[in-house]
Structure formats: C-alpha cells, structure tokens
C-alpha cells in the first residue's frame, strides 16, 4: 500500500509533555483524550439524569446543593419547571453528542482504526489533533451555559423552532442558552468532520500490505461506515446551527414565521419557516442514531467473535447490513415529523423505508444470534456487555416497529414510549458497546487488566437496572404520559407516580453500578494487574500483534504484512485455535485444495 513514510506519520515521537500528552498528533493519545472527555461528559449527563429523576419521583424533595448550580433555577434546592427542562436539554445534548458520538466512534476509532488497518498513524495528524481540541472547545459553551444569567436552553436536545429561534421571550435559556448551544454544536460538527476526513482516508489509503478492505475487522468497517455518515450528517447540522445563530444575533428569520405572538408580544421576525429546522435537524438526527450505534455493532461483533472463537456466519453480510443501515438512515428522517402536519403521502414515503431499515437491523441481529448458537462463549465482562448490547438493541428495536407506522406514532409521539425506545436502542445499547470495548481493549490501551469480578458486577447491575428504568417507560407512554412533564398533576397521571418512583430508584441503582465501573477503570489504570502478554484474549487482528501499549508508530521497526482474514479461529489443521492476521502459517483450506 501507500508508502507511509512519505505522508502521515512522519512526525517523530514527541518528547515534551505538551506535545506528548496535550497537543499530541498521535492518534492513540487523541483516542484516549476523546475517551476521557466522553467519560467526563457521561458523568455530567448521568448526574443530570439523577437530579431529574429525583424530581420526577419526589417533586418537592430538596436536593442538597442544587441551588449552587442555579439560584434562580433551584431556589431552596427544589428545581423550577423551567429548570427541569433546562437540565433535560443538557442531559440529551451532552449524552448524544459528547458521549454516544464521542466514545464509540471518536475515542475507540481513533485509537484502534489505524492499528487495525496496519497504519503508522492517521494521514492528517494535525487535523486529527484539531478534531479533538475543537470538540473539547465545543464542550465549553455547553458547560458555560449553566452559568449564564438565565441558564442553559430549555428547548430539548432537538431545539425545535420557533421556540429555539425567538430569543429570551421564549423563556429562560432561550437567549444566550441557545446561542451557546448552537455554537457548541457547530464546533462539534467541525471537530467530527475533521475526524471523519481522517477515518475515511485512513481506511482507504493507509492500509498495510496485504490488508484488503475485506480483511479489515468488523470494528474497522463500522468506524469507516460511521465516518461516512458523520461526514455527510454533520455537514448538514453545521449550517443549520449557523442559521439558528443568525436568527439570534443578526435578526434574520430563517426559522420564525411572520406575525408570531409569544407572551402577548408580536415578534419582529417575518418570512421564516418553522418546519425548516426540523428538516435540517432530522436529516442529521436520524443518521446520528446510527452514528451512535453502528460503531457499537462493530465493537460487539469484534468482541463476540474473539470470545466465541469462531467468526460470524458471514463477514460480508454484516458489512453490507451496516452499509445498508447507513444509506437507509438518510431516507427515514421524516418519521420524526409524522405529527408535524406533513402530507399523509409524505408520511407513507417515510414510513416505508423506516420499516425497510428493520431488515438490515434484523439481519445483523440474526447474524449475532446465529453465530452465538452452539458456540462455546467465553464469559467475561466484555462478552457480557456484548450480549447485553444485543439484548438492548432487540428490545429497543422492537418498539421501533410500532413507531414506524404513522397511525400508531400519532398516539405515541412525544410520550415516554418514544423515550424508552430510543434510550434502549440508541442510548443503553451504545453505552454497552462502549463498555464492551473498554473491557476488551483496556489491556492494549494501558498495559493493565481490568478487574473482571467488578466488571461482571457492573454488567449485571447495569443490565437489570437499565431494563427496570426503560421498560416501564413503554408502559407510561401507552398510558399517555407525555414526555418532558416535570410534574404529574392530571388525574390520569397521578396513578403513574409510583411507577416514576420505581424508575427513579432503578436509575440511582444503575448509576451506582457506573460508579463501580469508574472505580474499576481508574484503579485498574494505575494499580491493575499487568497484562500477561500482548495478546491476552488470544485474538487475531493487528492491534494484538503489536506491543502493549503500542509504540509511537504502532508497530515499531517492522510494519505488519497481513496474510489472513481477520477472524481465523478454530481453523482445522492450524497449530493453535487462532491464526493472527500477520501469521505466515500456511494452512490449506479444503475449498482451495479443490
């Protein structure tokens, strides 16, 4: 393949602390930086969810110290209805962008894509460094929005217009809060575009000798497909955010129609389209679901194969299915807008591909289940979380069948049913993918092992806890519990309050499990047992053929040459039950001998 010495990877190993650990161009350092950012963001997002859940279960309960976060939003440590919506908006934004996109795609992809392709580094290492630091900078306005005078935006992570575009008249946080939100997301888009540029080019141009595209592991394929989605989706969200900012700071009216009256006040805007934001946002928003979940599919496949000691039923079908999901994800975005007043024919047009997209999803699931059937799976924290991913993906996916049909969606739209659906299929499943990747790759990233007992405890608590939280959401939704309500005062909602209390307890229990993970992660990083060798899981792909942790240029003096497909396990006639991609062991297959 390409002579890498002439391109990326020309940068020598840095010596100064700043260049080595802060402004590093090494994809592995950048991957770790993304991971730490995602970890911090996840912690913030989780704490926000705890606060919200406590409020939903016991509305008058004073949460100690909450007024320090906002004296006006939480006077006497009890949050106002508006502040509930503000925290909800921040929870969604932080989780979707800075956790579900950042960890499985940017963090693990940065660290392992170049190694799995056999490259010394990304082709544009300075863009890669910028990618992280722009993303980090994007996080700052979100944090800052907690501390501006009227707090963060309350419009939800989807920031529907016209509420998001009319300024302070819309309520607390709808002025500076929205400007900071849109600035943050705009910067985030730039960061991810730079990252996607590197991912795509790495996959296409930087593969080592012998590494054909079909010899790439499924995780690498997942990152590659995701980067294509990222490139096209974030390139659409970015201009949408620019237009939103202009509506705030330049007096334009892209998203505000004429003669809009808010709080008895006629707004000066004229000529805009309210639905325009939804079109632009969901054209990004639905692929974003797959940007969050497809890397998890790749990671889970990679982890399962290693622990099953046999490949998937079909490598190609999994790749084609993930690719189909990516293509179809752009054709279904209108299903988020069934109740927007769109033409029923348009609803039908979006409903059909939404049902079609279940086909590749189902194929992927069947591939996993079919491959697992009869396998002697090694049970460890990584494989448990991989199984958990499949479980969550199925459970969340099934409710998608209902929501894909406009007639049913009209009933369930904006209820807890939808919240339960997307938290399972996109949130928890993606988080389980992150955990599976963490337990699996931790030895390679740090040279130390994570504690398996704590890992398994983490899994079972998370698995049970997540179901206890999100399955009742479906019941609440069917009972008519509208999402984003901060109190349940209507007659039909009062009987549902015990369910909310149960969910709150489950959320705190599940959160406790995440603290166990955090302890395990930090403790193992510094005091964990050293990895027994470079390949503790006896895996086949390139990341396990190099030193632990990998050297600056990934492979030391000798670049790898790939002779085998990625998942050669249980090969008849081989000396071991796995053949690494770099192995020169020549085993004749029965087919080829014919």
């Amino acid at each position: 393949m390409h002579d890498m010495s002439a391109n990326a990877a020309q940068h020598g190993a840095p010596t100064s602390f700043i260049r080595k650990h802060v402004f590093s161009t090494d994809h592995k350092v950048i991957g770790k930086q993304y991971y730490v950012l995602a970890l911090f963001a996840a912690f913030v997002g989780m704490v926000l969810s705890w606060i919200m859940r406590i409020h939903l279960g016991w509305g008058s309960f004073a949460i100690p110290g909450l007024h320090f976060l906002s004296s006006t939003g939480a006077p006497g440590n009890v949050m106002t209805p508006e502040y509930y919506l503000q925290l909800l908006t921040m929870h969604g934004t932080i989780m979707v962008f800075f956790v579900l996109t950042t960890a499985p795609f940017a963090a693990f992809g940065n660290f392992f894509l170049p190694i799995q392709t056999g490259a010394e580094d990304m082709p544009f290492p300075h863009f890669n460094m910028m990618s992280f630091w722009v993303t980090f900078t994007a996080f700052l306005p979100i944090v800052a929005s907690f501390f501006v005078s009227d707090g963060p935006s309350l419009g939800g992570w989807t920031q529907y217009a016209p509420l998001s575009a009319i300024g302070p008249v819309g309520g607390p946080g709808e002025g500076w809060g929205v400007i900071l939100w849109a600035t943050s997301i705009c910067l985030f888009c730039i960061g991810q575009l730079l990252g996607s540029l590197n991912f795509i080019t790495t996959t296409l141009d930087m593969r080592c000798k012998g590494m054909s595209l079909l010899r790439l592991p499924l995780s690498a394929w997942a990152w590659f497909i995701t980067s294509i989605m990222g490139l096209t989706a974030f390139a659409v969200l970015m201009p949408a955010c620019i237009l939103l900012i202009l509506d705030h700071v330049a007096g334009t009216s892209f998203f505000v129609a004429s003669n809009l009256v808010i709080n008895d006040q006629v707004l000066p805007h004229s000529g805009g389209s309210t639905l325009l934001w939804q079109h632009l946002f969901w054209f990004f928003g639905h692929p974003e679901v797959y940007i969050a979940i497809v890397p998890g599919m790749g990671i889970v496949s990679h982890v399962l194969i290693t622990n099953m000691r046999k490949p998937m039923l079909s490598h190609r079908v999994l790749i084609y299915s993930m690719g189909s999901l990516a293509v179809l994800s752009y054709m279904v975005y209108g299903h988020h807008m069934f109740v927007s007043g769109m033409n029923p024919l348009s609803s039908l047009a979006f409903s059909f591909p939404t049902l079609v997209i279940t086909i590749p999803s189902t194929i992927v699931v069947l591939m996993w289940l079919g491959s697992l059937y009869g396998s002697k799976l090694r049970i460890n924290a990584a494989s448990l979380f991989a199984l958990g991913f499949i479980s969550m993906f199925i459970s969340g996916g099934v409710s998608g069948f209902f929501l894909a049909q406009p007639s049913i969606d009209i009933m369930l739209h904006a209820t807890y049913f939808v919240v339960g659906h997307f938290h399972l299929v996109m949130g928890v499943a993606a988080m389980f993918g992150i955990f599976a990747g963490t337990y699996f790759w931790f030895p390679k990233m740090t040279g130390r092992m994570m504690n398996e007992t704590l890992g398994k405890l983490h899994f079972w608590m998370s698995f049970v806890g997540a179901y206890c939280i999100f399955m009742p959401f479906h019941y609440l939704g069917i009972a008519g519990n509208v999402r984003r309500y901060q109190a349940f005062t209507d007659d039909y909602l009062i009987p549902l309050i015990p369910v909310h209390k149960f969910i709150t307890i489950a959320a705190l229990f599940t959160g406790l499990a995440q603290l166990i993970f955090l302890y395990n992660l930090i403790h193992s990083r510094f005091w964990g047992a050293h990895a027994p060798n470079d390949n503790p899981w006896e895996a086949t792909s390139l990341e396990w053929s190099t030193a632990t942790p990998p050297p600056h240029n990934n492979f030391g003096d000798k670049m790898p040459v790939v002779y085998h497909d990625p998942y050669q396990y249980s090969v008849e006639g081989a000396s071991k039950d796995y053949i690494m991609q770099t192995s020169t062991e020549n085993v004749h297959s029965p087919d080829e001998e014919k």
Binding site: P123, G271, L276, L280, P532, Y569, S570, K576
Partner: protein, 225 residues
C-alpha cells in the same frame, strides 16, 4: 486487584470447519500454491483521497443550504431581489482563475517531472501568482457586492431572500479563503522546493470546485431569488 485471564483454549479436534464458516475457518487462507494474496503495492497519496472527502463534506453543507432555500420557498413565495451586476463579472474572474491555475498546474507538473522547457523553468510560480491575484479580486468583487447592497439599505435581515443571499455568498467566500490559503501554501512549498505533486493537485481540485460551486450558487440565486 484480582484479574481473570482465560487459559489458552484447547483446540476442538472434532469441530467441523463448517461450524466456523463465513470468512474464517476454511476460506481465504493462503492458497495451496503458497502465493499469498496481497493488495496492490501502491495507492493514491492520502491528499488525493482527502480532498475528495473534504469536497464531499462541502457539497453536503451547500446542499443543506440549498434544501433550506427550497423548503422555505415551499412555505411561501420568496421576495424577489435583484442580484448586484458585479457578481457576473466576479464569475468571469473565478472562471479565469481556474484556467490560470490549470496552466500553472500543468507547467509545474512538467517542471517537477524532469526535463522541462525554458518557459516553465524560468518561473513556474508565475501562473500561481496570477491565480492568487484573481482569487483576491474575486473576494474583493464579492465584498463590493455586499457593500453595494448594504449602501442601498439591503442587509442580512432585510428579508428572507437577502438573508439567503448573504449566507450563501459569505459561506462560499469563506471557503474561497481556504483555497487562497492553499495557494499561498503551494507557492511557499514551491519556493522551498518541497512541493509534492499530490498537494498541488489537491489544491487545484479544491480551487476548481470553488469555481463550479460559485457558478451553481449564482444560478440558484438567479433562479430562486
């Protein structure tokens, strides 16, 4: 902290290879003749691929702006505006800059490729400077158009049509600045004799794309506004 590391698994000799079908277990191993499969020994430099990827992202961004314009038009008719005439002159300038850059690219490629004629050897950067000048002239022309509209009282927030006009033209101009930066970089590398062919080609493709993009935008604005 206790750690669980599995013992190396024993090979199940009774296991049928058909259990491990797909890509592993029995397919795509080294062939019987010992000739290992390899992909081709060379691939395009990453800059060549990278520029196409970057252009795809820019295309999506302007497709989003276009969609916004079309969706907005579907809501209610847009206010008609008259485009400043200087835009048509600017169009000629950016097309001319593409021509001069292509001349520069070919001459520099010939210059880098070994034996070259005296004309190109004398000053291979000359056409790049001309392109740079034309690029700056284009941006100056766009600025003139904005100032002219502003002086007539038509600003960004005057009405939705002007909003789209300014957003599209300014977004394009910002991307042109990127191209100008690329040209300066190419000139600098050429003077230091460290210019790579792939860098020159990538910069050239970007610049040509800016020209095509402008013509598209002008047509869009002319038809829709």
């Amino acid at each position: 902290m206790a750690t669980t590391v599995h013992e190396p698994p024993k090979i199940d000799l009774d296991r049928s290879p058909s259990q491990g079908s797909g890509n592993g277990g029995r397919r795509n191993l080294a062939p019987a003749d010992g000739e290992l499969r390899r992909v081709k020994d060379s691939s395009p430099p990453p800059a060549s691929t990278g520029i196409w990827v970057g252009l795809a992202a820019i295309t999506m961004t302007f497709a989003a702006f276009t969609s916004a314009l079309i969706v907005r038009q579907g809501t209610a008719p847009l206010v008609h505006i008259t485009l400043p005439p200087v835009l048509y002159l600017n169009s000629l300038v950016i097309v001319a800059s593409s021509v001069t850059l292509e001349i520069a690219r070919r001459r520099i490629a010939a210059f880098m490729g070994g034996p070259h004629d005296k004309t190109s050897a004398a000053n291979p950067a000359r056409w790049l400077y001309i392109t740079l000048f034309l690029g700056l002239l284009f941006v100056a022309g766009q600025t003139f158009a904005w100032l002219q509209l502003k002086s007539e009282g038509f600003g960004l927030a005057t009405n939705i049509s002007y909003s789209f006009f300014y957003v599209l033209t300014v977004a394009h101009a910002l991307h042109v600045f990127g191209g100008l930066g690329g040209l300066v970089r190419v000139i600098g590398k050429l003077h230091q004799s460290v210019l790579r062919r792939s860098t020159l080609d990538a910069t050239s493709r970007y610049w040509h794309f800016m020209g095509v993009l402008w013509l598209y935008l002008l047509l869009l604005l002319w038809i829709k506004l």
